[in-house]
């Protein structure tokens, strides 16, 4: 078989047993299988319960983001980024804004940067809640999922306070935010910092020394650092193998260099380590949010965007009342802005790994080319080769621990 299907050494070999039936069974898992949490199709050859080989088919919700992006003005691409990794859309929004700001050389005020850090870390927590909660469900523990989902709902309430939407948030504009966080939002963020730790602690205690959970996850789908790098993995699953590559620490953006946080790493890259890395990242995100709130207190109040009227869409109420805002609004919407001819690659640490935006501008109102480096797409390609030799049940929890989001996978 081709190179991509060769068995990876650490997986247990297919057992030599005295099975009278020598034929392998072909099993089609997906594209709407309930155990896959999304539209993934894997056609696997199985020997009993053990997978011998598999082929992944993806593209079942291919929506042509990159083609649409070539036809939309810069500010209209934010709603597209929402729908990439819809479990943590604010990170995508912010990543996109920062990419355009890098292209346009816009300096963002510190207060806005800290506000961005808060929404990004909230999004990371929301995403990790889903992933770890679902991992619990897949290993047979439904209750943990129900506990943490309530906290995710609370994060969505904070989003609603900030931008009005729950899931596809469309937070912010190029140059800052569309409005300041209101007092309720700040109060809710502070409340979240108080109410989430006990829940997370309880959630963690349900799992991390739970014998069933450990037996189901420990040493399952263990990946060595070399293999992970060979397959260009990034994010928590790469860190679970022991490589401390985190874009936030490696090439800080949005003032992450000012924050005191740790990058948790695992030791043997199995499902259990991925679970623990994600849990620890949630704790670290809480630390970051706390620091960001303190930093915001020290900044002058009321600043929520950079002073770049040429590129920042003015608030709607000003467009209706002020001539100047109307002119800038008209210019931006009609595409009369001076984007430089240049190319930019900007990466942020998405919830699943390095989320990169490769933007080529030819000076027009739309990008000439926009390519998303989507961590789910790149992380998922190892799934089929690494599944060979695994039990079906292990492959299922391996998939949930990769946290592949269909929208990001298929673009």
């Amino acid at each position: 078989m081709s190179k991509s299907i060769t068995r990876i050494s650490h997986n247990a070999p297919v057992l030599e047993d005295n099975d009278p039936q020598e034929d392998l069974v072909t099993l089609n898992i997906g594209p709407t299988h309930p155990a896959t949490h999304g539209v993934f199709q894997n056609v696997v050859q199985i020997d009993g319960e053990r997978i011998v080989s598999g082929v992944s088919t993806i593209g079942y919700i291919h929506r042509a983001f990159e083609k649409i992006a070539e036809h939309r003005p810069f500010y209209q691409i934010t709603p597209l980024t929402d729908r990439l990794n819809y479990c943590s859309s604010p990170i995508n929004n912010m990543g996109w804004h920062m990419t355009v700001e890098k292209l346009l050389d816009i300096e963002i005020p510190k207060r806005v940067q800290y506000m961005r850090v808060i929404v990004m870390e909230l999004a990371r927590i929301a995403d990790h809640i889903i992933c770890n909660g679902i991992l619990g469900v897949d290993t047979g523990a439904f209750s943990g999922f129900l506990y943490v989902m309530q906290e995710r709902e609370f994060i969505y309430e904070i989003y609603e306070e900030i931008c009005g939407a729950r899931l596809t948030t469309n937070i912010g504009r190029i140059g800052g935010f569309e409005r300041d966080f209101n007092d309720v939002a700040f109060a809710k963020i502070r409340e979240f910092l108080v109410r989430f730790p006990p829940v997370l602690k309880e959630f963690q205690e349900l799992f991390d020394r739970n014998r069933i959970f450990i037996e189901r996850t420990s040493n399952v789908a263990a990946v060595t650092p070399e293999e992970a790098l060979d397959y260009s993995w990034s994010g928590p699953i790469l860190r679970a193998t022991g490589i401390d590559y985190d874009v936030r620490a490696h090439s800080p953006y949005c003032s992450y260099e000012e924050f005191d946080f740790e990058v948790p790493v695992g030791t043997n890259g199995d499902v259990y380590d991925r679970f623990m890395v994600r849990n620890e990242e949630m704790w670290q995100s809480m630390r970051i949010i706390e620091q960001a709130l303190d930093k915001i207190d020290k900044e002058p109040k009321g600043i929520f965007h950079a002073d770049v009227p040429d590129f920042y869409l003015p608030p709607k109420e000003q467009v209706y009342t002020s001539m100047e805002a109307l002119i800038y609004h008209f210019k931006i919407v009609m595409g009369e802005w001076d984007a430089p001819k240049n190319e930019v690659y900007h990466a942020v640490e998405g919830a699943n790994g390095e989320l990169g935006f490769y933007l080529i501008s030819d000076g027009g109102r739309t990008p000439y080319r926009l390519h998303f480096r989507r961590p789910s797409f790149i992380n998922y390609q190892m799934f089929a080769p690494m599944s060979s030799g695994m039990l079906i049940s292990d492959a299922i929890i391996n998939m949930s621990s990769l946290n592949v989001i269909a929208g990001e996978l298929d673009a």
Binding site: V39, P79, D82, Y86, I130, M149, R166
Partner: protein, 184 residues
């Protein structure tokens, strides 16, 4: 005593020891309050459906306790998320596998009309391949909106005539979508 509320009885004739109503109404009532959903979740709306099923919103209150991942035992197909053209035959297959009576809710802008994705790869609304009973707007709809969609479907189910699935009009509707029924 628990605080369970019972649904109202359909209009009928009541007397000492008996209650008479039409079979349509009685069966409609039973069906409407035990719709088993088949979540066909592909993208963002599926995450909101998770919230709808989860602890805060709790779709189970409306008789949809058990998400049926087998089309054979489902009554209500909830299509949530973008359906790409690559996915369209799969969706149609799932619909064909469902037993009558079956209802479809298109949740979200993508399932209803293609949404913001007017592109070469996306089906412009699932009603191009299967009949739809209720459309829920939103991108994605809030869980309350999804619940409202289910309640609107319950209204349809309550008032559906028992004979509807055998009428020539219904057969013609399915034939329009290229679905041939051989079960009667």
């Amino acid at each position: 005593m628990s605080n369970i509320t019972l649904s109202d009885a359909p209009p009928g004739v009541e007397g000492a020891g008996f209650f008479a109503t039409t079979l349509d109404k009685a069966i409609g009532l039973a069906r409407a309050n035990s719709l088993w959903p088949l979540p066909f979740a592909t993208s963002c709306c599926g995450i909101e459906f998770m919230a709808t099923m989860g602890s805060t919103y709790d779709l189970a209150r409306f008789g949809a306790e058990r998400p049926s991942f087998s089309p054979r035992q489902a009554d209500m197909l909830l299509v949530m998320g973008t359906i790409a053209k690559k996915m369209a035959p799969v969706l149609k297959q799932v619909y064909v596998q469902m037993a009558e009576p079956r209802w479809v809710i298109a949740v979200g802008a993508c399932a209803s009309s293609g949404g913001i994705f007017d592109t070469y790869s996306v089906l412009q609304g699932i009603d191009e391949i299967i009949p739809v009973d209720v459309y829920v707007p939103g991108c994605p709809p809030r869980p309350e909106a999804i619940l409202d969609g289910v309640l609107r479907l319950q209204d349809i189910v309550k008032n559906e005539s028992l004979n509807r699935r055998n009428t020539p009009e219904y057969k013609a509707l399915l034939e329009k979508y290229g679905i041939v029924t051989d079960n009667g």
